[in-house]
Amino acid sequence: MRIAIIDTSSTRAAIISDGLREAGLTDLVVIDPTGPLAAQVERAAPEVVLINLENPSRDVLEDFFAMSRALDRPIAMFVDQSEPESTMAAVDAGVSAYVVDGLAKQRIKPILDLAVRRFQAFSRLQTELAEAKTALADRQVIDRAKAILMRRRGLDEPAAYALLRSHAMTSNRRIADVAEAIVTSEQLMGDLP
């Protein structure tokens, strides 16, 4: 069964493709979201199209499917409502699927379930990445704040950090937020260039 994947994120498209392949669905076409959409879908002639809900081309795709019907080709439609739970799970995860009419419902459900799991795996990845980025940014701002404290108050590094930490504890704020405030204040009020 041929499945087309349209995703604005090439990482997510790869994650979905890998999952489908592991499940033995190997006839996959990844559509280039920057290229002419309808032409690529037409060439691929898929039985199922997986696309992310926020893709800006969804209206274009639906128009293409509707036109295909006018040209006496298979009808395409959003996932059949006879499976409302899996449809809702899909929309919650941010995936939309278009299914060629006549494809047995029991064949689309596992694909959709798998796509949902892969979408969730991707968003976990995104969250972890965002957390890692924040941690890095936090460390940088704390280092800068420590340097400011060391210079302005003649402290050594452990003492500067201890000061930051105790202020964070007494004011019930994150150390990084206190550090951020020090750096900002130094930029505005300090004698740095």
Partner: protein, 403 residues
Amino acid sequence: MSLDTFRIGFLPLVDAALPILAHELGFAEAEGIAIELVRDVTWAAVRDRLLYGHTDAAHLVAPLAISTALGRDRPAVPMAVPFVLGLNGNALTFSTALGEAVGLGETLGDPVAIGVALKAVAERRRDAGKPLRFGVVHRHSSHNYMLRYWLAGVGIRPDTDVAIIVTSPPFAADALAAGEVDGICVGEPWNSIAVDRGVGRIALATAQIWRRGVEKVLAMRADRAEERRDGVLRLIRALHAAAAHFVDPETVEQSAAILSRPHYLNAPVDAILRAITDRIRVVPGGEPVHYPDFMFQYREAANFPWRSQAAWLYAQMVRWEGLPFSPEDAATAQDVFRPDLYRAALAGSGAPLPGASSKLEGALVEPIGAGSTQGRLVLGSDPFFDGRAFDPDDIPGYLAGLP
């Protein structure tokens, strides 16, 4: 006390103003409800979030609510439209090259004269194997039907002489700039943004094609509208109050500033202000032209969901999608519009309430007083550019008489 919350989906367009203002300016809170706004970039996503419960209501192109209820292209879901968010407010913008080819002036021109010039260009391009391409925002949009109505009316066959394709509103100006299309029919501020970017000029306001054409609506699933009936009535009152505020000349700058925020339209305040005040800059660098009915909210019970407007949209679906007319479908389409909810919400408020739920569309040549059960209602002239009227009780007869 926690407020009854409505999550409302919308696209970044000026006519999403009423739910945004109802939220921002406290009209919702005054009715004991809260509004959370959920922005998308395609109508398909707005519709899907509505159908699968991410949102409770949506700012939606009216024909899409009807096609969803009719099960066109997807399984049918009963829909309810208790409130019209506005009439018209769209324009047809040509690329600079096409604008020059048809001789557009410095002001909004005459639909018939522009049509004659366009027909000559369209035929040349068709014969050369490179037909003109127009972008509309969704196949089930008033933009698509207004454009087709006008093209057919001036003797240009849509789908044969020209191509009509879909492009989402926030990308319409880009499509024009990139030469993917020769013209776009889209809501504001995207026409004005195309003009300000110097990539196009406004040929016509859709109000010139149908003076009182139904545009965006507040759409809900019919079952949810039933379950939350009390909340829906409050929401209608909040939107109606927001509409009165929106058309007040004293508040337009405030409204434009709110709409321009990144979270809403993320667009220049100046372009939004021109749309709200019906002052449209049609050529780059030109003086804005005042066209009083460009965008139409509130007055003349503009927010009332006339069943005859739903019937007109259904008639266009039959006309352009090659599907047979069906009396059952016509009834389903009209049942989507819910004047009963509108009346229930605004009874006793002093807002004019039409006595009828359906009218002859496009038949008024001058303003007349209309029957109302409450308040004084005057309906302005509402012609189609070709002078035809639409009788919702005789859709087959109407379709047979069209070019």
